[in-house]
């Protein structure tokens, strides 16, 4: 896995943090503020995580609050659920989103249903963090985008930030949320994306609310995670070509911010959804369905999806990896075709 955990940290100016630094900062702040917050997962202790997200936390808060677990994902989540039922606020790390599947039953059958099946008697204030997404030579099992599996499940909240500001603010909200939150971090964004993050200020970003990443009038583009940045870059090119493109960063994919989706399409009349998960049955399909149901009278073109191809996962070899992952060029092509309607 050489390369995955060893990206160089970019230089940042004061108030500027990388995406990963913002996540580290949220974890530190919440552990400092609330001693019921614990971190557990594989390699999160002495090593500080394979991406260094939990770097230094065990030194600060000890082995009882930063726990290296056996290599068994179902137990990481199942134990976190039990701890959450008994008053802790666990932040469980799944080393790669690709490895979350052994814990699927605990997440979907247990955490998601606990409040509902006990008629509100129990709740599971737990966060599951996992790096997801491709573009870092991670191949089939270190590149997956698994959010659609969980976005299908009522009882879960699924958050995917794209900027350092949102990464910190949303992780704080996730930790303070009384329900289970899946927090997917785009691993290519960790050290590539930097941005303004307020220092020493207690702020949070609400779960379930989208953000307009770039305002526009002629077309709405919906994305989350790394794709937001590619979409903004493509939108800037479109501007030069005379088309005003709005980019909406969904930020939460369950529950989706229907109001923001509808408002944007009612304004622009055209919609494109970009995501790197397999195209079929993904979050983009749900966004497209909302638009089809709610914005029919406003549409001035087909609702377009740009997704990863329907092959099992992202291959290793660079040409195949590049072919899989939607990029600015491909998104731009789709924007131009849609603009022509």
């Amino acid at each position: 896995m050489a390369g995955l955990g060893t990206h160089k940290t970019v230089e940042t100016s004061a108030g500027q943090l990388t995406y990963i630094q913002a996540i580290q900062s949220a974890l530190r702040d919440e552990m400092e503020r609330d001693e019921s917050v614990i971190v557990l997962g594989e390699d999160v202790g002495a090593k500080g995580g394979v991406f260094k997200v939990t770097d230094g936390l065990q030194k600060l808060y000890g082995e009882t609050r930063v726990i290296d677990t056996p290599l068994a994902e179902s137990s990481i989540v199942g134990v976190a659920i039990g701890a959450a039922l008994n008053g802790l606020k666990p932040v469980a790390e799944i080393q790669f989103a690709d490895f979350i599947h052994p814990a699927f039953n605990q997440i979907v059958s247990e955490a998601a249903k606990m409040r509902y099946r006990s008629n509100g008697d129990w709740n599971v204030p737990m966060v599951i963090r996992a790096p997801f997404g491709g573009g870092v030579h991670g191949a089939l099992y270190h590149s997956q985008s698994v959010e659609a599996f969980f976005a299908h499940v009522p009882g879960l909240k699924v958050v995917i930030p794209s900027t350092p500001y949102d990464a910190k603010g949303l992780l704080i909200s996730a930790i303070r949320d009384p329900d289970p939150v899946l927090f997917f971090e785009h691993k290519k964004a960790y050290r590539m994306i930097k941005g303004e993050v307020p220092e020493g200020e207690d702020y949070s970003v609400p779960i379930g609310r989208a953000r307009i990443a770039r305002e526009g009038r002629h077309m709405s583009v919906f994305a989350y995670g790394l794709m937001v940045h590619y979409c903004v870059a493509a939108a800037e090119q479109m501007e030069e070509e005379g088309h005003s493109v709005e980019v909406v960063d969904l930020r939460t994919v369950r529950p989706l911010d229907r109001g923001a989706i509808i408002a944007s399409v009612e304004k622009t009349g055209k919609a494109l959804v970009a995501y790197e998960a397999n195209r079929t049955g993904a979050v983009g399909a749900e966004v497209a369905a909302i638009i089809a149901e709610e914005c029919f009278d406003h549409l001035d073109g087909p609702v377009v999806r740009i997704g990863g191809p329907d092959v099992p996962a992202m291959p290793f070899s660079p040409p195949m990896e590049d072919f899989f992952l939607p990029d600015t060029e491909r998104i731009l092509g789709a924007m131009r075709r849609l603009a022509a309607y």
């Binding site: 609050r65 068994a72 179902s74 959450a84 249903k113």
Partner: protein, 349 residues
Amino acid sequence: MRVVKAEEAAQPSPQTQVEMYRVLLTARMTDERCWLLNRGGQAPFVISCQGQEGAQVGSVFALDRTQDWFAPYYRDLGVVMALGMTPEDILKSVMGRAGDPNSGGRQMPSHFSSRRLRIISQGSAVATQVLHAVGAALAARTRGESALAIAYVGEGGTSQGDFHEALNFASVHRLPVIFMVENNSYAISVPQNLQMAITDVADRASGYGMPGVVVDGQDVLEVYRVTREAADRARAGEGPTLIEAKTHRLTSHSSDDDQRVYREAGELAKAAKDDVIPRFRRQLLETGMIDDKQEKAMRSEIDAIIDAATEAAENAPYPEPEDTFLNVYSEGPPFPEDLGGGPRMREPE
């Protein structure tokens, strides 16, 4: 709520033993009532505790019901009744009434839950609850409390990965957990020899670096004793224990099963002869803790309670259909469309 501290002695007091018998009887008679209601068309589904109440009641009485954590499985009516759940609670659940404290009529019966009683809600996928007990124990220890957690699971559930992951995690971190396997020899129709290649589930304990204990699950006082020992170890920081209670399933798996298809009549008769209720009754009569007259009076008292509970449950309201939307998230249903509200379509002109 009546508060009962674990007895200091390895043998419960005479008064406690009589109390244990009352809980055994209450669980058994409530269970029998559920079957009656099922036959009468008032209870769509029943899954039974019958035969296993000794392991259930004996273990709960050995623990601290004011602070310990319980992760039962669907046969553990004896566990939850020892913790304070009532026949009325159970019958409301069996009839799917709104007042069912386990789930408000959402879950199948016998999916027990009560935050007040520290009974962790369970689903139907077996053995998931074993990990929840480990997590609850971890939280208790993190706060420096002396509480422990106990997980109950059938021998079939021990085939699940979650069971093994739970034992491993608890042992690595020396957590205050008791794993109580109620081995009734059958997982629906699959006998133990097709479930595992060993005779005693307790043998698995050594692979995880913890003691494994086999106990006669029909011997209430012996279950009490070994559970007390495991609890003492847990509270002393010595880590988890695996207890295997050998027991019997006297009924079919559920009201949708007929065990005569896959079990010999002789085997069933033998299990019935080893039933914990007459056995514990004999024990109490022999030691003079109860006499025949008192025992009969106890039965009719419980019968009257269950009659009243049946009537109360029958008269209890169902949930409103729209209650289906409640308790998905803490916010209530803040995202009605997300919960199936559908599109804002215009009225046709």
